[in-house]
C-alpha cells in the first residue's frame, strides 16, 4: 500500500516501518494526522513499541509535543470529573461519563494519546432539569443563545445545548441517551444505565458497560454523519475491541447488546471497517453472525464507496471531488436516520441560511 492518501492509515497499520520513512513523507503523515487529531495517538503507538527515540528529530518533536497536549487534557479531564462530582454529587444522580472522558477515567488503552474537545456526561432524562440548574448555578453557561438552537437541542436531540465553564473554558455535553430522540434506532437509555459500572467503589461516576461503550462509539461514528474524526473514532473502536475482546465472554455479550439496543447496523459497519482498515482481531464467527445485520453484500460494496473516503482525514492530500460528495451523502444519510423529513427539511434549510451569514463572525483577530 502506498497510496499517499492513506499515509496515516498505513502508519497506524505498520508503525514499525516509520523509523525509515523519508522526511517529505513524514511531513505528509503529520499533516494528515493533525487533521485527524491523531498525532498523539500515533506517538503512543510508536512509544509502545519503543520506536519514538529512533525517529528523526524534527518529526519526533511534533509527536512529543502532541503527547504533552494529550497528557494535559487527561489531567484536565480528571480535574473536571472531580469538579462535576462535587457540583452534582448532592443530587444523587448516576453520572455516566461517555467517550474520551470515560476512557481516561477508566484507564482504558483507548485513552492513550486521545485528544478531545469536550466532556460528555449522561444523566437520566427526568433529572435533566435539576442537573442543568446545578450546573448553571456553579459556573457553567449554556453556549447556544439562539432560541431556535435551544428548541432544537431540547426537543429533538439527546443532549442539552453544549455548556462551557465560564472560567476554565471547558465544554460539557450533558446527554440523556446516546442517540437523538427522533432517531430510527430507539435506544433504551434505562438499559444503558442499568448495565453501567461504577468507576470506583464509593464514587458517583460511572461508565457504560464494555459492550455498550463499543456500541455507543459505533453508532456515533456510523450514524451521526460527522466524519471530521472518522479515523480517530475507528481507532477508538479498535483499541476498545482489542482490550475487551481478549475476554472470550465479551463477544457474545456484544452481539446480544447490539440486538437489544437496536444498534446492529452500526456494529456491522464497525466490524467491517475495523477488519479491513486496522486488522482488528475479530473472531470469524462474530463476523459471520453480524453479516445479516448489513445491507447485503452489493449494497455494502456501494457503501464502501462512501465510507472509505469519509474515513480518511479531511485534508487536501486525502481529498478529491468525490470525497466531498461522499461526506455530504453520509451527512444526508445521518440526518435521514436522525429525524423524519418534516422536521429535517426545515432544519437543514435554516442551518444553510444562517451559516452563510455566520462565516467569519466571531473569528479572532491575529494577536
Amino acid at each position: 500500500m502506498s497510496d499517499p492518501r492513506d499515509t496515516l492509515l498505513d502508519a497506524l497499520r505498520a508503525p514499525e516501518r516509520l523509523p525509515d520513512l523519508a522526511p517529505a513523507r513524514w511531513d505528509l503523515l503529520l499533516r494528515q494526522a493533525r487533521h485527524a487529531d491523531m498525532v498523539a495517538h500515533l506517538a503512543e503507538r510508536l512509544a509502545a513499541r519503543g520506536l519514538l527515540d529512533r525517529l528523526p528529530e524534527a518529526p519526533r518533536r511534533h509527536l512529543v509535543a502532541a503527547q504533552n497536549i494529550s497528557a494535559k487534557q487527561h489531567r484536565d479531564v480528571r480535574w473536571e470529573a472531580r469538579c462535576l462530582t462535587r457540583v452534582l454529587g448532592s443530587l444523587e444522580v448516576p453520572l455516566i461519563l461517555l467517550k474520551g472522558a470515560a476512557y481516561v477515567m477508566g484507564d482504558l488503552p483507548a485513552a492513550r494519546g486521545r485528544i478531545f474537545r469536550d466532556i460528555d456526561l449522561m444523566v437520566p432524562r427526568e433529572r435533566l432539569d435539576e442537573v442543568e440548574q446545578k450546573l448553571l448555578t456553579n459556573g457553567w453557561l449554556t453556549m447556544k443563545k439562539d432560541d431556535y438552537d435551544q428548541h432544537y437541542y431540547r426537543t429533538w436531540t439527546h443532549q442539552l445545548p453544549p455548556m462551557i465553564h465560564h472560567r476554565r473554558m471547558v465544554s460539557l455535553d450533558v446527554h440523556h441517551t446516546i442517540v437523538p430522540l427522533t432517531a430510527r434506532p430507539k435506544v433504551d437509555a434505562q438499559a444503558l444505565r442499568d448495565a453501567s459500572q461504577p468507576l470506583e467503589a464509593n464514587g458517583d461516576l460511572r461508565v457504560l458497560a464494555p459492550p455498550d461503550m463499543v456500541l455507543h462509539s459505533a453508532t456515533h461514528l456510523f450514524n451521526e454523519g460527522e466524519f471530521s474524526h472518522g479515523l480517530r473514532d475507528l481507532a477508538d473502536l479498535d483499541a476498545l475491541l482489542r482490550d475487551f475482546g481478549s475476554d472470550p465472554a465479551f463477544w457474545p455479550q456484544l452481539l446480544a447488546r447490539a440486538e437489544l439496543l437496536d444498534l446492529r447496523r452500526p456494529l456491522f459497519y464497525s466490524l467491517r471497517y475495523l477488519s479491513s482498515h486496522l486488522a482488528t482481531p475479530i473472531p470469524a464467527e462474530v463476523m459471520e453472525l453480524a453479516r445479516p445485520w448489513g445491507p447485503g453484500e452489493t449494497a455494502a460494496k456501494a457503501m464502501d464507496r462512501l465510507f472509505v473516503p469519509a474515513l480518511r482525514p479531511i485534508h487536501e492530500t486525502c481529498d478529491n471531488r468525490w470525497s466531498g460528495i461522499a461526506r455530504w451523502l453520509l451527512y444526508v444519510r445521518a440526518h435521514h436516520l436522525r429525524m423524519p423529513a418534516h422536521i429535517l427539511v426545515p432544519h437543514l434549510v435554516r442551518k444553510a441560511v444562517t451559516r452563510r451569514y455566520a462565516m467569519w463572525k466571531g473569528q479572532p483577530r491575529p494577536a
Binding site: 493533525r34 524534527a58 512529543v64 509535543a65 494535559k72 485534508h315 467569519w360 473569528q363 491575529p366 494577536a367
Partner: protein, 305 residues
C-alpha cells in the same frame, strides 16, 4: 542555500507555485503567497535565512492569499491559512506582511509544545540570555531592536522557547515587529536598520518589520542559558532604573504570560522555578534607549553576582 541567492523573480515564482521552505531557528515553514508585497518583504527580511530543499521535512505549511469573490476588487484582503485551517479572520491586503509574521508566531505557539513558550523578548551577550517578558506596549520589541545593534544577539523579540530538559533558550531570529513611534525611533538611532514598508492601520496601530542583524541569524543554532529576567516598562521622561523584583512574583508573571504553561503542568512549574532561581529578576523602567544600553552593558552574569 540562502534566500538572498534567489533572484526576485525566482522568489516570487516559488511563492506563487510550490512554496518556499524558509528555515527560522528549529522550524522549517513552507510559505506560499501570490501577493507581491509578501515576496518583496521576504526578500528584504529573510535574505540571510536558509532555504530548505523540496525533499526536506517541513514543520508548517502556510499561505497568505487574497480571498476571491467581491473582495478581489473591493477592499482587497489577505487571508492566512495554516495547512488549510484559518486561525484568523482576513485582514486588509496592505497588512499581508505583518499577517505572515503573526501567522508564523501562531504556528509556533500552537505546535511547539516540546518547549515552554514564554511571551518575552530574548537577547544574549557573552553566552548569557536576558529574557524581557512584557505585555504589548511595554517596549520589549524596541529594546530588543536597539540592543541587537549594540552588542547583543537577538534570539527573538516575542517568543522564548525554553527547554524543559536543560532550561536553555532556542533562538528563532525572526524579524522584529515594531509598532507606532518605535519605528521612527529605531530609524533615527540606527541608520543601517533595514525596515519594511509600514502597514498603516492594523489592530496594533502602525506596524513595520525590522530585519534581524546578520550575526544573529548566522548563530541561530546556538542555544543559550538565561541569566536575567527583566520586565521592561517604557515610561516617557523617566530616568532609566533597574530595580530588583521578587523571584516569586517573576515566576507568576512569567507563567501568566506564557503561551503553554498549563500544557506542562508540574514540569512547567519546575522549569520556571529553576529559571527564576538561577536568574537575576528585575523591573526596568526607561525612556531613553541609550541609557538602557548602558545599564544592560553593566549587567553581570550570575556567577559574579
Amino acid at each position: 542555500m540562502n534566500l538572498s541567492q534567489l533572484s526576485p523573480a525566482e522568489l516570487a515564482e516559488g511563492l506563487r507555485g510550490p512554496g518556499i521552505n524558509l528555515c527560522t531557528g528549529p522550524f522549517t515553514t513552507r510559505i506560499r503567497s501570490p501577493i507581491e508585497y509578501v515576496a518583496e518583504g521576504m526578500a528584504l527580511l529573510y535574505g540571510n535565512n536558509r532555504i530548505a530543499g523540496p525533499e526536506e521535512f517541513v514543520d508548517f505549511h502556510v499561505a497568505i492569499e487574497a480571498p476571491g469573490g467581491i473582495r478581489r476588487w473591493w477592499r482587497r484582503q489577505a487571508l492566512f491559512t495554516l495547512d488549510g485551517t484559518t486561525p484568523f479572520a482576513p485582514l486588509p491586503y496592505d497588512e499581508a506582511l505583518p499577517l505572515l509574521e503573526w501567522g508564523l508566531n501562531r504556528a509556533v505557539t500552537s505546535h511547539a509544545h516540546t518547549y515552554l513558550v514564554l511571551h518575552a523578548g530574548v537577547i544574549e551577550r557573552d553566552g548569557w540570555v536576558a529574557l524581557l517578558p512584557g505585555r504589548p506596549g511595554a517596549g520589549k520589541s524596541t529594546l530588543c531592536a536597539y540592543l541587537m545593534f549594540n552588542g547583543w544577539r537577538l534570539l527573538s523579540d516575542e517568543l522564548a522557547l525554553v527547554s524543559l530538559e536543560d532550561g536553555l533558550v532556542t533562538p528563532l531570529a525572526r524579524p522584529v515587529s515594531m509598532k507606532n513611534q518605535s519605528i521612527e525611533v529605531i530609524r533615527e538611532r540606527v541608520p543601517e536598520a533595514q525596515i519594511s514598508r509600514v502597514s498603516g492601520n492594523t489592530v496594533k496601530g502602525a506596524v513595520a518589520l525590522l530585519k534581524v542583524e546578520a550575526g544573529s541569524v548566522a548563530r541561530v543554532a546556538e542555544q543559550a542559558r538565561p541569566a536575567w529576567v527583566i520586565f521592561p516598562r517604557f515610561q516617557p521622561a523617566a530616568e532609566a532604573e533597574l530595580a530588583p523584583r521578587s523571584k516569586a512574583q517573576a515566576l507568576l508573571e512569567l507563567g501568566n504570560n506564557a503561551f503553554n504553561y498549563s500544557v506542562h503542568g508540574l514540569r512547567g512549574f519546575r522549569c520556571l522555578a529553576d529559571l527564576v532561581e538561577r536568574c537575576g529578576c528585575y523591573d526596568f523602567t526607561y525612556s531613553e534607549l541609550e541609557e538602557a544600553r548602558e545599564i544592560f552593558a553593566r549587567l553581570a552574569p550570575p556567577e559574579a553576582s
